[in-house]
């Protein structure tokens, strides 16, 4: 008799855990708000205790015990090694070349890992106006490499973004180097279904990993271009008990904190 066993974790939890594992201890990571912030702090609270987390509000080496709701919450300043002004953050630290990994989220992401957080539809006649660029365009070009985390759907992973807010590999023909960009760009895209990485030659995002229980057809159906699949697919190890309990505790503490007036 076939018995279906519920995995005991959600696809969002798998995504966050898989993204956290991409970070190494002692790296300097420039953290975007939302999904990247959860994954970065999970890494810090598990396998990467000496990772240096930097938020664009100016907090360097921060150790928040809850996830910030906004990029400049008090907990980031209270638990950081240093707080610098925003101009200093973008000049000395980001442009200065001190960031190993920029960790970004995206509203729309395309085949060549370009990110759109500006507008759905035409810029001058928008269907949906999104918040805009923030720090991402220069994170995408100044950090040594980029990690991207995004929930996979046909609407989010598109053939070509409506607007390039932050570059990945452009149209796949023009190169980053053509624009004078010397950093590596996106290394991996972690989704709730698996892991995509740019092909070393064409830079096209290719499926290289699957989370447990997900099949290739499902990922293809949730991708807005004919998705290429690597010859050998890695299957992500399911979240460990430690990863799950640390993540859940973090989310619970954060939810409680954001319900109360500080």
């Amino acid at each position: 008799m076939m018995v279906t066993i519920e995995p005991g974790y959600t696809s969002d939890e798998m995504m966050t855990v898989a993204a956290a594992r991409m970070l190494r201890d002692r790296q300097v990571c420039f953290v975007g708000i939302g999904l990247p912030s959860a994954a970065s702090n999970l890494a810090r609270l598990t396998h990467a205790p000496d990772i240096v987390l930097i938020y664009e509000s100016g907090t360097i080496g921060t150790h928040p015990d809850i996830l910030p709701l906004s990029i400049g919450d008090g907990v980031l300043a209270e638990t950081s090694v240093a707080v610098v002004s925003v101009p200093e953050m973008f000049t000395y630290w980001l442009q200065g070349g001190r960031i190993d990994v920029g960790f970004l989220a995206a509203a729309q992401l395309d085949r060549f890992a370009n990110i759109n957080t500006t507008v759905i539809g035409d810029y001058l006649n928008p269907k949906v106006r999104l918040p805009g660029a923030g720090g991402a365009p220069e994170i995408a070009t100044s950090a040594n490499e980029i990690l991207i985390i995004i929930r996979q759907s046909k609407r989010a992973l598109v053939e070509k973004v409506d607007f390039i807010t932050s570059i990945g590999f452009l149209d796949g023909v023009q190169t980053r180097a053509d624009l004078g960009v010397t950093t590596a760009g996106p290394r991996a895209v972690v989704t709730d279904l698996g892991i995509l990485a740019p092909d070393p030659v064409t830079h096209e995002l290719t499926l290289v990993g699957l989370h447990p229980g997900v099949d290739v057809e499902h990922v293809k159906a949730e991708t807005g271009w004919p998705l290429r699949v690597a010859p050998k697919l890695e299957i992500t190890s399911p979240p460990t008990d430690t990863e799950l309990s640390v993540l859940r505790d973090l989310n619970t503490r954060s939810a409680q904190a954001h319900k109360a007036v500080g």
């Binding site: 708000i33 939302g34 664009e56 509000s57 100016g58 907090t59 910030p68 709701l69 906004s70 990029i71 400049g72 919450d73 008090g74 980031l76 300043a77 209270e78 707080v83 002004s85 925003v86 101009p87 953050m89 973008f90 000049t91 980001l94 442009q95 500006t118 810029y123 001058l124 928008p126 106006r129 999104l130 918040p131 805009g132 660029a133 923030g134 720090g135 991402a136 365009p137 220069e138 070009t141 100044s142 607007f163 390039i164 807010t165 932050s166 570059i167 452009l170 980053r176 624009l179 004078g180 960009v181 904190a257 954001h258 319900k259 109360a260 007036v261 500080g262």
Partner: protein, 286 residues
Amino acid sequence: MAEITSLNEAVAGLIHDGDSVAMEGFTHLIPHAAGHEIIRQRRRNLTLIRMTPDIVYDQMIGMDCARKLTFSWGGNPGVGSLSRLREAIETGWPHPLEIEEHSHAAMANAYVAGAANLPCAIFRGYRGNDLTKYNSSIKYIDCPFTGERLAAVPAIRPDVAVIHAQKADRRGNVLMWGIVGVQKEAVLASRRSIVTVEEIVDSLDAPPNAVVLPTWTVSAVCKVPGGSHPSYAMGYYGRDNVFYRRWDSISRSREKFTNWIERHVLGTKDFAGFRRSIAADNEGAE
């Protein structure tokens, strides 16, 4: 020398219709009380400048204070969009809103250039970014020494900067700490400035290298305790994340938004009155 005055008088005397106004604050120390006073005094046709316009600019845009917004990230952080900003951009209500859109790096550098009395800022940025197709103030310049192609944007030189800080002394010297964003640069880049503070003290007791704006760089200092609520003032009170979440539903429709502003902002005399008004509303809701 800064004049120590009421917020009502400072806004009346220093902010005029048509001015460019930078009200800065990066999550922390956002000058909400000053924004409300601008709404009460019904300023019009302002060019609003801010890296991270959030709900106070949403309120001012929804109340028709602005004709243009210069910004680099406009949202309700961790919650979602700004409905009034979106409606102004998407449908032109209550007034068509011209936008000049940048990245954070561009705006931060442009404020520094303004404070430094330079015509423009130069930085390594805007490579491959589609904003360059729509924002004609983004240009490129070749480094005369290395030939590297760099981005250039005009310096930000507002008519008025408005910020909130923790403390001033009785002469009007201002001290702030924590996440200080671009506030010092915004004040030094502007012709005039208003600083609201949590308290006015005999002595700032600022350590060397603290972020201090000397009194002669500021036009007016106004004591407004709690004046950045629902943002926060480190050392005084935390961010009211519940209010940020509530704003999403308050601002969703024109009617609900307008009623809320009429009742709590236009219907009150000052920020203390506003705080009492929303507190009474919250009790009624429970």
